[in-house]
Amino acid sequence: MPSFARHALEAAVVLGALVGLVAYVTLLERKFAARLQSRIGPYYVGWPHGWLQPIADGLKLMLKEDVVPARADRGVYNLAPIVFLVPCLLIFATIPFAPGLGVADLAIGVLFFLAVSSLEIVGLFMGGWGSNNKYALLSVMRAVNQIISYDLPFIFVALVPVLLAGSLQMSAIVGAQAGLWFVAYPVLGQLAFLAFVVATLAAENRVPFDILEAESELVAGFRVEYSGMKLALIQLGEYAHMLGTSFLGALLFLGGWLGPGPAWLGPVWFLAKALAIFLLVTWVRWSFVRIRVDQILAISWKLMLPASVLLLLATALWVAAGGAGAA
């Protein structure tokens, strides 16, 4: 079965690269945040500049005692990190890193991405519920509220480039941006990108929308009882999801692997764009205070949802009227 073996190998390579990338993205964020806060950040582990810090952190979490609360629902509690992690890694299946370089460039790639990335809430809820902890319970109540509220605007905004490109296939969307990146489309592109970033913040539970982690109120939210490897899996999932969404943003709005230079530079451009979105999100995270749960819902239903629907409608009308996207 050469075809099966090839796919398995591809998946393994992507997964391995992904886990490594995620580990070093945490280092990037810590360094970036440290600079914002006039600190140095990790420095001594892997001198200089803490190059081995993510590995040390991973090892530490693996060696830690795995505590299961006595009153926890063991099955649900133990399963939750896996259920949370799998969709977070699965979203990378449809992301092409360059023409032909990816696990599966599905014809319905964007749809698959959006559908799978919404699944993480299941694992999250299982974790919070199975912990049998009041903080965790409050946290997952918030999580369900928030993720349901923000998945809709997130999906609507992600459909804007789909309309412009006239395809759900990731590579076709990038191909349609050969002339002009979608973010550069007058008004529509910028508004859609802005809405995408805000929805991303909310969907990734980052400050100012991190109410489900909210450690000053809920200690650590849904993962308050987790320790050791299970905590590592949850964190890996969170960062993978964040990174995946950044890749999606780079694909949908910033022209994916398009950029000056030879074709082999494509993946480098793609990674640079995704990391730029990631850093933008990180910058917001380390500058804002947290919004309250009722305010988050109000922003979603009263502002984000109508705005994203209007944006989608406007795009549809523009494309129907023979706008540049069809060209």
Partner: protein, 387 residues
């Protein structure tokens, strides 16, 4: 009026959904030390709140009866350990009011100077921890927190140069101060306050221009003027509720009568009003510090130089109460003397203790996230609450 009004706010009559009793503290990221709250929740809304204190009780008042007037000032700083200078000042002022101690003018000026530097340091800590409560240790709150600590560090460095200690100073003694300023110190203090003055503008730009910060603070935790006076809160909380009262101006102690400053008052009574009051107080403290440095008189720093024995200060039989405007409000010390070298009885009035009493009145009806915002805006220090 007091009885019925204080009772009715304790529990709101919500109908319907199931209630959850959640324990917050004493081990909790935003317990500000060791505060414990029992919250009764309906969904996210707090319907009742019970405040439990006492986890940091160290028998301070009993300790005051066993230590002499020479020994206790450096222990007094351990009540409100974030603004140690003011509690020391309250204690020595009470002793000085009991006896007949002359305090040289230079010492009086130095007392005002360290009190104002301490207020700056204390407000830095308040702003940082409060933003951390609202923004999280993994978010913008931590950024403000680290900025504030960077600035507070400068003030602590100055106080270290003056006293050799960074947190608990033992600077005051009965009849004056223990240390004089080192050479070139006033220049450094001027630089420090100028530096902090610039940073205050940055903090304000970062917070007030941020819609998220405003929606989290405006209209949250409103303390009405009536409630403020009924419960007996003090300091920035009181002034944030529209009561124009500041001991430094209305009952000047030490040498506050010599300096010009403005007392900020905000009418709204919400977290944002309390924030505004403290931000203005930063600037007014800097203004007072500059005036002290400009007018610092020459002369001795104490009418009783040198400590020869711990029992050397004696005061006549009697009792006295001294109060000072600490960073959190009125800090009072009441001493009863039987003529010996140590008080017969001593009582602290901690500003944080009285301020905390307002929490059960304002928290019911708010969301869980507001609880920590309101708690942070009250700025309690548990060393002073439990003593």
């Amino acid at each position: 009026m007091p009885e019925t009004q204080t009772r009715q706010v304790v529990e709101l009559g919500y109908a319907g959904s199931e209630r959850l009793v959640m324990n917050m503290g004493p081990q909790h990221p935003s317990a500000h030390g060791v505060f414990r709250m029992l919250l009764t929740l309906e969904g996210e809304t707090v319907v009742a709140m019970d405040a439990i204190i006492g986890y940091l009780h160290r028998c301070h008042e009993k300790l005051g009866e066993t230590l002499t007037y020479v020994q206790y000032p450096s222990i007094a700083s351990k009540t409100d350990y974030v603004a140690a200078m003011t509690s020391e000042l309250a204690y020595v002022s009470a002793v000085e009011a009991l006896g007949t101690f002359e305090v040289p003018r230079r010492a009086q000026y130095l007392r005002v100077l360290v009190a104002e530097l301490q207020r700056i340091a204390s407000h830095c800590l308040w702003l940082g921890t409060w933003c951390m409560d609202m923004g999280g240790a993994l978010g913008g709150g931590a950024t403000v927190f680290l900025y504030c600590f960077r600035e507070r560090e400068e003030v602590l460095d100055r106080l270290e140069e003056l006293t050799g200690a960074r947190l608990l100073y033992g600077f005051h003694q009965v009849g004056g101060t223990r240390y004089d300023v080192p050479a070139g110190w006033d220049r450094k203090v001027r630089d420090t306050v100028a530096f902090i003055e610039r940073r205050i503008d940055e903090w304000e730009a970062m917070l007030e221009d941020n819609a998220v910060f405003r929606v989290r603070t405006q209209g949250v935790g409103v303390v009405s003027r009536e409630l403020a006076q009924e419960v007996g809160i003090a300091g920035p909380l009181l002034r944030g509720s529209g009561v124009d009262f500041d001991l430094r101006r209305d009952a000047p102690y030490s040498s506050y009568g010599d300096f010009r400053f403005r007392v900020p008052v905000e009418a709204a009574g919400d977290c944002y009003a309390r924030y505004r009051v403290r931000m203005v107080e930063f600037r007014e403290s800097i203004r007072i510090a500059r005036q002290v440095l400009d007018g610092l008189p020459e002369g001795p720093i104490s009418s009783r130089p040198g400590v020869k024995s711990v029992g050397q200060v004696r005061v006549p039989k009697g009792e006295a109460y001294a109060r000072v405007e600490g960073a959190r409000g009125e800090v009072g010390c009441y001493i009863v003397s039987d003529g010996g070298p140590r008080p017969y009885r001593m009582k602290w009035r901690g500003a944080s203790f009285s301020n905390l009493a307002v929490l059960p009145h304002i928290i019911p009806g708010h969301k869980v996230a507001d609880v920590v915002a309101i708690m942070g805006s009250v700025d309690p220090v548990f060393g002073e609450v439990d003593r």
